[in-house]
Symmetry: C7
């Protein structure tokens, strides 16, 4: 899964079952207005360029479980699994 390297502030996320309860009992309702979805980060970009020529450090890393809007980002299928390429700012929260 490491062969996809997101660009800039993007992250590659494996989409997890939306209905499935997390250990902490979080439910992401399918009928919510913005339909947040759950996923696991599998790769992160090198960050956006800052004004001084350095790149930002992303606040998530591989392995993090995250939630994000269902209609955010781009869908990609790898070996039958669904993935998303999202900008970090499309992520709502880390779980755990």
């Amino acid at each position: 899964m490491a062969q996809l390297k997101p660009i800039e502030d993007r992250v590659l996320v494996k989409v997890l079952e939306a209905e499935e309860k997390t250990a902490g009992g979080i439910v992401l309702p399918d009928n919510a207005k913005e339909k947040p979805q759950r996923g696991r980060v599998v790769a992160v970009g090198n960050g956006k360029l800052l004004g001084d020529g350095k790149r930002q450090e992303l606040s998530v890393k591989s392995g993090d479980e995250v939630i994000f809007g269902k209609y955010s980002g781009s869908d990609i299928k790898i070996d039958g699994d669904e993935f998303k390429v999202l900008r970090e700012s499309d992520l709502l929260a880390k779980i755990g």
Copy 2:
């Protein structure tokens, strides 16, 4: 409830009953144009990246009671309770 860690300038807020009067007598009318809602902050992000590579410090913290537009942010249900993930700039005011 601490297992959801908002990203950047986002906050996780437990939605409180809109009709309920606060100690100070604040009523958030259900028929107002922008329908402000009341909630309690349960987790805050690490702040947005500033130009110099540092991150901003949010002006609310866990435990703060806040009001915000009813249609702001994303709805999440945890163990039957309703939560919102909001950007700090979606918050209108702290109560108390």
Copy 3:
């Protein structure tokens, strides 16, 4: 009234009677295109974050009488009185 603390560059304003003439004879016509309204500032935020990590100082303070567009900001009712939470940039002018 001090128990509502606006966030960032927001101000809490008690809405005054629009038809009432001010001491200086200012009339805010009800049929004007943008319908300016009159109010008294009762609380101000701590200002927006500046690039250098400091916060701006707002140019209005509690007690100031201000005018603003009728449809700006969010309506809140406290003990039967009408209030607005507005961004400072939604304010048009201070009176007096």
Copy 4:
């Protein structure tokens, strides 16, 4: 007239007769696409906050005769006279 203090980069302008010729013979046609209007500045704001915490100095001052788009800004009536609260950038030019 000095009791209205515009906020930030706003100016308070007394609207002058649009049809009236200026000394220099300027006519602001009533049927023009953007309908520029003529007025006299009666109060100016303290300027927008700059990045370094200072405030800009406005390029008009009380007494200046200016032109601006008819549909710019907010209308206010004081003692029967018509005024506008405009942002400085809504002003097109100074006369004289």
Copy 5:
């Protein structure tokens, strides 16, 4: 003509006959998609405020012949002649 002083990055331009050929043979077709028009600069603003509190220097000056989009800016009539108040960035090119 010098009695109109444009604000910030604006310029006052006397509109020239669109059909007329320039010395260099430039034709500004009346049926082009964006309909560029020809004019002569008669006054320029003091430039936009830069981050450090200085003002930019405009890249056109009084007397310059310029072209600009027919629908850019605001129309003003002075002593029977047509003028435009345009932002410098609405200008496409200087002629000559």
Copy 6:
């Protein structure tokens, strides 16, 4: 292929077969909402101008295999092959 030099932060990409599986088994579904497409970078621009007058360094280089939205950028045909000129920010991820 080196005779096309993209401007600023643009890259020239040879479009690869969308249906074709990559070595890592990545499938880019033709019926996905944003329809990501696969391609090989053949030329990159000199980067956007930064605030200090330097130019950014792009995070992809010639030879990189990338994915991007099907409807991003501009299509160009060279000797019967399809190419895209894309901004770097239109790229979703590098493969490999």
Copy 7:
């Protein structure tokens, strides 16, 4: 042709035949979604103002052959030939 001097980051481009193959075999298809067009730069502006008061240096110069979106910029006819005034960022790539 040197009598038209583009403003800021604009370039003056002589439009070349779209159907014509370039030496390198580049075809710019007339039926492409964004319809890139080919042209030769005949004049460039002095660049946009940077934050420090200097002006950017454009990355194309007179004589460069470029491609750009057919619907970008403004059309001008000079002595029967078609020209475009484009912003540098409307240019997709240099040829050769």
